[in-house]
């Protein structure tokens, strides 16, 4: 075919056919838009969903808890904003904090969509723009993309277009971080919500691209189980460790290993989401995962310090900045494979494979940047074999010997500097004393709570390698760190939604609890197991992803079974679903969107406000980012929030600087419209927050149950949800909740077994009128019981309105 240039021209011998390249491109765009109904906000700009944001923000007020009282953005500063003072540009603490929060959100969103962009370039290079998207038995292939951009993507090339939009918008948002832009906190809040929404588009693009091209499970129920834990790694074999989030390059390593029969000979293992995505690679058919998972970010430094890896390959995101510095000490070459992390290493992408291997083997360089994945595929496993020999020969040791351990623990002068510096103020000093006396259990306990950050070591005036001491002390525990993680299954399929949607909207499935985020837990990884266990027993749908999907698989019941082994993985009540890696979080919002689209037949494309309103009022879902630390968790949570899904973070999450918390005592604020006639319905605050932190797992449990209550629940649903709320409060706090009665609209809402008792309380403590013969409530509830009411926050969706 001859090459066409831009401009108007005609095709040979066909004078009256004129093609204008510009307009063909335009026509493509137009055609795509016209596919089906498109709602009012396809590819919304910053201001297009502002009305919706304002509705949310009126109910859910930004609560600012600054990480710093100063602003140091521009050279007019540093400005002291303490007490909501104004800086030199006129911005006050509220405005600046909202801006700071937004910056974190767009940083997270950029990490995901930047990852998506890299992956997409790579996959389009390999498979072409016309390669079709394949995500499983669904018509709604990409709910977030379709909802936001107004277009249903069909090919890899279509994803390009969605990313263009995301990138354009992220740059608009980043622009507003500049001094002298937005002046009011509320509009920074709206911008933050915008960024969160974009994040889910970026994540979805990333994940469906890799699902489609890399033979990952496509909405499969029974994916395989992968091995997880430091205890599962065989240190006798050459160990090739990969760290990061972007599996692109690693697939070449796996392929090379298979082609060269190395799969059994090399221990290929990973940390963070790359690990999860390795287990998804080519397991669509139910194959055994091709790699082991070591664990989360919290294990990075611990794994390196163990001395076990022979070669480290890093890609992007959540990779400790000191990997090269740490690995160097232990003769582990580091290969960087992505321009986001290059560590100052020489670019060997264009060099001969043998030369690279030789230079690294001989220690001429600490590592190499290899952007050519073909070469990476060969270099990494071959080098691991070589290094394994060399390192064993040289007797590279890592953790202290027993003698050194004694010396180190005795060296401690108990100055407590380490504890002051430890993000969680762990009791290092006392543990040193115990360890010196031969009692390792304090350190064993500490090991689980320790996120392996190394900050204690930076502070110690006696230069004790504290983390090594902890790890040495916990060797016994670490050897037992063996768990299972179900391979990420990708999307929730349309048929599943069709089956379960009604239960969710009516409330007879008590709710969806999405456990996401990282490993910054306040009290160790068992927290997650406890949450999952409790909620699964109670028939909640528990969805996990990323690091949480890992940590939750590290605990077993007395039968030695992890939760994954005990609970099935369909989108049904009482099921435990691992969607996949961080970018798979988009499938959680995706499922909520699908409920509105499939169960309620709402139009998806470009119809954000209506769908979000539907979800806020009717889909009892709550997100938990218990160990959230990263900016990505902020953007994921914020994306959930704009879509009407509340999110709870662990105590460290208060450092995101802002929460969205309602004031249930301000009853005027909680009215909704009835879409049937535009009349107002008084409702209790449900949910009463969009983003908050919780202090302990025990506090979290009843909060979860309460967070799943929605105005649309029918009586049965309400009864089920109230039962769990009351039971969990009694179990974990020892008390009936203060506000349970607010959710009661009729006697049939009350848990059957306790109906009489509760009616009495209603009469006595709240002055409700009860007809004791019929056991009926005569007066009291704020909300009238009316199953067919259609709660909405949007006036224009009401029949009689506007």
């Amino acid at each position: 075919m001859s090459e066409l240039k831009s401009g108007t021209f005609s095709i040979e011998e066909l004078e009256n056919v004129q093609i204008t390249i510009g307009s063909i491109v335009g026509a493509i765009e137009k055609a795509a838009e016209e596919e089906g109904d498109v709602g009012p906000t396809a590819k919304p700009g910053i201001s297009d969903l502002r009305d919706w944001d304002y509705k949310l923000l009126e109910k859910y007020n930004p609560v600012y808890t600054p990480m710093c009282d100063q602003c140091c953005y521009c050279t007019f500063g540093t400005c002291d904003l303490t007490g909501n003072k104004e800086g030199a540009c006129g911005i006050n603490m509220e405005g600046h904090n909202a801006r700071e929060f937004m910056l974190r959100v767009i940083t997270g969103a950029a990490a995901h969509s930047g990852h998506g962009r890299h992956l997409l370039h790579h996959l389009i290079d390999l498979y072409g723009k016309d390669y079709p998207l394949k995500v499983g038995p669904s018509n709604i292939i990409a709910p977030n993309v379709q909802l936001v951009t107004g277009k249903k993507p069909e090919t890899l090339g279509d994803l390009d277009d969605a990313l263009d939009y995301v990138e354009e918008q992220l740059v608009q948002l980043l622009a507003t971080v500049h001094m002298g832009q937005e002046g009011e906190a509320i509009d920074f809040e709206s911008k933050a919500l915008h960024g969160g929404m974009l994040d889910h588009v970026g994540m979805e693009v990333s994940d469906i691209a890799q699902i489609s091209c890399l033979d990952m499970p496509k909405a499969k129920e029974n994916t395989s189980l992968a091995e997880i834990g430091m205890g599962t790694i065989d240190p006798e074999k050459p160990v090739l460790l990969v760290i990061g989030h972007n599996v692109a390059g690693v697939t070449n390593i796996i392929d090379y290993m298979e082609e060269h029969n190395l799969s059994d000979k090399i221990e290929l293992c990973g940390l963070c989401c790359t690990a999860l995505d390795m287990t998804r690679y080519r397991t669509e058919g139910g194959d055994v995962p091709k790699a082991k998972v070591v664990g989360t970010l919290a294990k990075e430094l611990k794994m390196i310090r163990s001395g076990v890896p022979d070669v480290i390959v890093v890609d992007e995101q959540c990779v400790r900045a000191d990997v090269l510095r740490e690995a160097r000490k232990l003769m582990m070459p580091v290969i960087t494979t992505n321009d986001k992390i290059m560590y100052g290493l020489p670019n060997r992408s264009n060099d001969d494979v043998e030369d690279i291997i030789n230079d690294l083997k001989e220690g001429k360089q600490d590592g190499a940047l290899i952007l050519d994945f073909e070469k990476l595929g060969e270099v990494a496993p071959r080098l691991a074999q070589e290094m394994s020999k060399i390192r064993k020969e040289k007797g590279v040791t890592a953790l202290p010997t027993d003698e050194e351990f004694k010396e180190l623990t005795s060296r401690c002068v108990h100055c407590l500097a380490c504890e002051l510096d430890c993000p969680t103020n762990l009791p290092i000093s006392d543990s040193m004393t115990s360890a010196a006396e031969g009692n390792l259990s304090p350190f064993e306990e500490l090991h689980d709570k320790c996120i392996g950050c190394g900050r204690c070591e930076q502070a110690c005036p006696k230069d004790i390698p504290i983390l090594n001491v902890i790890e040495k002390a916990a060797q016994k525990v670490i050897r037992e760190e063996k768990g299972k993680v179900r391979v990420g299954r990708g999307q929730i399929s349309d048929p599943e939604i069709r089956e379960e949607g009604v239960n969710l909207v009516m409330g007879t499935t008590p709710g969806i609890v999405a456990l996401v985020g990282c490993s910054n837990h306040p009290e160790g990884t068992k927290d997650l197991y406890r949450i999952g266990d409790e909620m699964l027993k109670r028939n909640y749908i528990v969805i996990v992803s990323g690091c949480t999907a890992m940590d939750i698989g590290m605990y077993k019941n007395e039968d030695g079974e992890t939760l994954y082994e005990r609970y099935p993985a369909r989108f049904l009540k009482g099921n435990l679903i691992n969607v996949g890696s961080c970018v798979s979080n988009s499938h959680i919002t995706g499922a909520a969107i699908k409920v509105a689209a499939i169960f309620a037949q709402r139009n998806v494309a470009g119809n954000y406000e209506e769908i979000a309103d539907y979800i806020l009022n009717r889909v009892g879902a709550v997100g938990v980012a218990w160990g959230a630390y990263s900016q990505k968790a902020a953007s994921i949570g914020t994306g959930c929030n704009r879509l009407g899904i509340p999110v709870i973070v662990g105590p460290h999450g208060s450092k995101y600087r802002r929460a969205l918390i309602g004031k249930p005592y301000d009853e005027e604020k909680w009215k909704v419209y009835d879409a049937r006639d535009g009349s107002e319905i008084s409702t209790p605050a449900a949910p009463e927050y969009l983003l908050t932190s919780a202090e302990t797992v025990e506090e979290l449990m009843p909060m979860l149950a309460k967070s799943c209550i929605r105005p649309s629940d029918n009586n049965m649903g309400r009864m089920i949800k109230l039962t769990h709320y009351i039971e969990l409060s009694e179990k974990y706090l020892g008390i009936m909740p203060d506000d349970w009665y607010k959710f009661v609209r009729t006697e049939t809402d009350l848990p059957l077994a306790r109906r009489e008792e509760l009616l009495k309380i209603l009469e006595k403590e709240h002055g409700w009128e009860i007809d004791w013969n019929k056991k009926k409530i005569l007066s009291g509830p704020t909300t009238k019981s009316d199953v067919s009411a259609q709660p909405t926050n949007i006036k224009r969706l009401c029949k009689e309105a506007c």
Binding site: D69, D80, K663
Partner: protein, 170 residues
């Protein structure tokens, strides 16, 4: 007498405004003078003898906001007027001049903090420091820089001793 204000070292700082050092006797005096004090107790008290101290303070007639799952330890204590509330919610309500308190009896004027994770309570207090005029006092074993006043970084034993002194003076 427990000198609780010797070590006021901060690991990182929020800015130029930091808590003033507080000695137990002074704190007791301030509580006595306050019209509507509130004791905010966190779940860390469930881990050791701090629980008894918190109860003893509450028994002096100071209403308690029990955050986290602290109610577990307080619900059966006699003479304790405690209600559960999420601490982040509490932080938000306290900045609202219209909030009438846990019992609806009107706004608080002095807030005491005991039994919280250091980093968490500093965050909550960062909100109060910047967006309210409330007097906040941390009687924790760490220096809580975002309170108006705070004990210093002290040893657990000193901490218990200081709490006893405080209780004695109420």
């Amino acid at each position: 007498m427990a000198d609780v204000t010797k070590n006021l070292k901060v690991y990182t700082t929020y800015g130029p405004k930091n808590a003033k050092p507080a000695q137990p006797a002074i704190v007791a005096k301030m509580i006595t003078k306050a019209k509507r004090p509130l004791l905010v107790v966190g779940a860390e008290i469930l881990k050791d003898e701090k629980l008894e101290k918190a109860i003893a303070i509450a028994q002096k007639g100071i209403p308690v906001a029990a955050t986290g799952h602290t109610m577990k330890g307080l619900k059966d204590a006699e003479g304790v007027d405690a209600k559960y509330i999420n601490i982040h919610f509490l932080g938000s309500y306290l900045c609202d001049a219209n909030w009438q308190g846990l019992d609806g009896k009107g706004p608080y004027d002095l807030i005491l903090f005991l039994g919280h994770k250091k980093y968490y309570i500093n965050q909550v207090l960062s909100g109060l420091k910047n967006f309210s005029n409330l007097k906040t006092i941390a009687i924790e074993r760490h220096f809580i820089q975002n309170a108006s006043m705070s004990f210093g970084n002290i040893k657990p034993e000193t901490h218990l001793e200081a709490l006893d002194e405080l209780i004695a003076e109420l």
